[in-house]
Amino acid sequence: MGKPILSVEKLGKKYLLSHQRSEPYTALRDVMAEKVKEFRRRLVNPFSGARPSDSGSGPEEFWALRNVSFDVSPGDRVGIIGRNGAGKSTLLKILSRITEPTEGKAHLRGRVASLLEVGTGFHPELTGRENISLNGAVLGMTKVEIRKKFDEIVDFAEVEKFLDTPVKHYSSGMYVRLAFAVAAHLEPEILVVDEVLAVGDAAFQRKCLGKMEDVASQEGRTVLFVSHNMAAIQTLCRRAIWLDAGRVEQDGESEAVINAYGERLQNASNIPATLRSLDGNIDIEQIQLLDKNGRATSVYSPGSPIKVEIHYHAKQPVRRPYVWLGIQSQFGALFGANMLLDGARPEVLEGRGCIGCTFHTLPLLPGQMYRIMFGGRKEDGFSALFKATEVTHFLITGSAEEIGLKGELADSLVGQSSPVLLPYTWELPDGRFVSVNPF
């Protein structure tokens, strides 16, 4: 092929992390108070240089992305994988021109449409019809394009009947369908998609994936696709780029890259950076996954127990908090353990310590990756202590046969099937009973 449609050269993005503030913006009164303090200090001691006290608590540099280079040819579909905080979203944000890089450059030879979230700009008070126009404009479509695609969008979203209803009355499924439908009918040369397919029901997800495949293969568009859904990446993308700690760890044929990534996950199962509570009082320093022998691993066999250990450091005592854990797959939330429901809660978290939670059996299909979500609320049960965050993932490995799934296609289908497997029995017309009692 000729010129690459997208070339990225030594791209880097630096953030300054401040340890004192949890919000990125400043308050004017703080700035003014600083200035007054500074002024007073200078009056007292006019010849001193920079304040020595500053060096300890000053901002810390953090490279979310560093030295990232790659080329993409027109019509390529590239999957971007990596752990949370690896720099995937930062890369997409730079390519979508939402934020500027600190160094390096990216050369784009075509219009870019980015889909970092479904339904950006949707207004709950407006009807479906009005939101289609609005969202289309937000995503860069012209009035003429929107009018031309309108019926197709409505068709795809399956919301004809509710077109003139305000979207605040939509079910969440309808809302997502409509939002994705608008985005799917964009006609850019380069489509940048963040993990937006993690929403909606399985059937609609498959429809979306199919649409994205069409967009790329039939219409010759270039797609950059971030996902934790390895199966989706494998079906959609021939090539994958694995980012780790802001750098390109591996770039190549998607199957090889995904396998290498999976192997790495098995070896390290703790969260990359410290997770801090919204009020800054507690740090989660480590989240460990342990098997039945107490060994840290992120590979489990179907039906085995898993223990999640949350190692915290409370700088101030935190009284009677609620925390929860949730297990998710590519199909959405599966199950969890939630102190808000079961009422088990620590009296106080002080200093360093650990909360453990054992799921006695993982009734999950092999061949899929599962994510662990973590969140928490304060004593009152309403205000957030930790934002819901994906903290780690694990893989279930093994063959379909060993858990009693004997279908001919079972091995190729377990990776894409609804993952929770519970005991059941078929009663066939010839009088046979076939039981599956997997674990």
């Binding site: 400043t26 944000k93 050369h107 870019v112 407006l126 404009a137 012209t142």
Partner: protein, 285 residues
């Protein structure tokens, strides 16, 4: 597929884009032009939402200027007995209410506009200038409603404007630029210093008293008049009065020109400050 290649190639050349640090100014105006429809849609959304959410939306747009006018007429016209320049006092007040209310609501809404649209700013690219601009445009609808009331009021008093009324768009544009300039500046400061939102209502409140809304500028002593015109809204309001009340008033040129200069400087300054901060918006908002 082969037949598609020439088209793809031409498109590629047309939309060539380089992303690097400190860049972005080169295509800024072209981008704004490309995104003009978004400006239209955002304004349309806000207008729709404003008048949809409350049945009293329109009533509010009518009641607010009417009530304010009644209070001002009573206080300044009947109690303080300020001169009315030979026109009915309610009309004198109302001609000033028009630009002032447009200015004050535009300023308060545009200065909050980046924060209220923060979600969009962190998820999608478009020239951010569109956001405060659409916040100002939305208030043109309220302005139009008030303008109709003024027409009715003038018909009631059997007061006909002169040819000067055709210069009104000029003064409206000046009012637009003044509120957009200050609004853009405040909006940008608001992104960076989140407590700036407390400053804006104060400016609006104070501005009502230092602008000739309830009284005519002629009550300001001659030697202070130029200093008074440092407030850019003085030029706009005086212009409105001159345009609508016609020959009854003398046009005060030095004051108008000063307002023009102040507005332009403010706009330029706001724009520069905004452009310097815009690049970091998504990181700090």
């Amino acid at each position: 597929m082969a037949h598609q290649d020439p088209k793809t190639a031409s498109v590629c050349d047309r939309f060539e884009l380089v992303i690097e640090p400190g860049r972005g100014f080169r295509n800024y105006w072209r981008d704004i032009w490309q995104y003009r429809e978004l400006l239209y849609f955002l304004s349309w959304r806000d207008i729709l939402v404003r008048y949809k959410q409350t049945a009293i939306g329109v009533a509010w747009a009518i009641l607010r200027p009417l009530l304010t006018m009644a209070v001002f007429t009573t206080i300044f016209g009947y109690l303080a007995k300020l001169p009315s320049e030979g026109v009915p006092y309610p009309i004198l007040v109302f001609t000033a209410m028009l630009p002032w209310q447009f200015f004050s609501s535009s300023l308060s809404e545009s200065s909050n506009s980046f924060i209220t649209n923060a979600n969009m700013l962190t998820k999608i690219y478009f020239p951010r200038l569109i956001v405060p601009a659409s916040a100002v445009i939305v208030n043109l609808v309220d302005f139009l409603i008030s303008f109709i009331i003024l027409g009715a009021l003038m018909a009631w008093y059997r007061f006909a404007p002169g040819w000067q009324v055709f210069t009104l768009p000029l003064f409206l544009s000046l009012g637009f630029l003044a509120s957009f300039g200050l609004g853009l500046w405040m909006a940008t400061l608001n992104v960076k210093y989140r407590d700036f939102r407390y400053v804006v209502p104060f400016i609006v409140q104070l501005g009502l008293y230092v602008s000739p809304v309830g009284f005519s500028s002629s009550v300001v002593p001659g030697k202070w008049r130029l200093l008074y015109s440092l407030n850019p809204m003085v030029g706009v309001i005086d212009g409105f009065r001159w345009a609508i009340l016609g020959g009854e008033l003398r046009f005060y040129w030095p004051g108008f020109l000063l307002s023009l200069v102040i507005t332009s400087v403010m706009l330029l300054f706001a724009f520069r400050y905004f452009r310097n901060t815009e690049r970091k918006f998504a990181d700090i908002i």
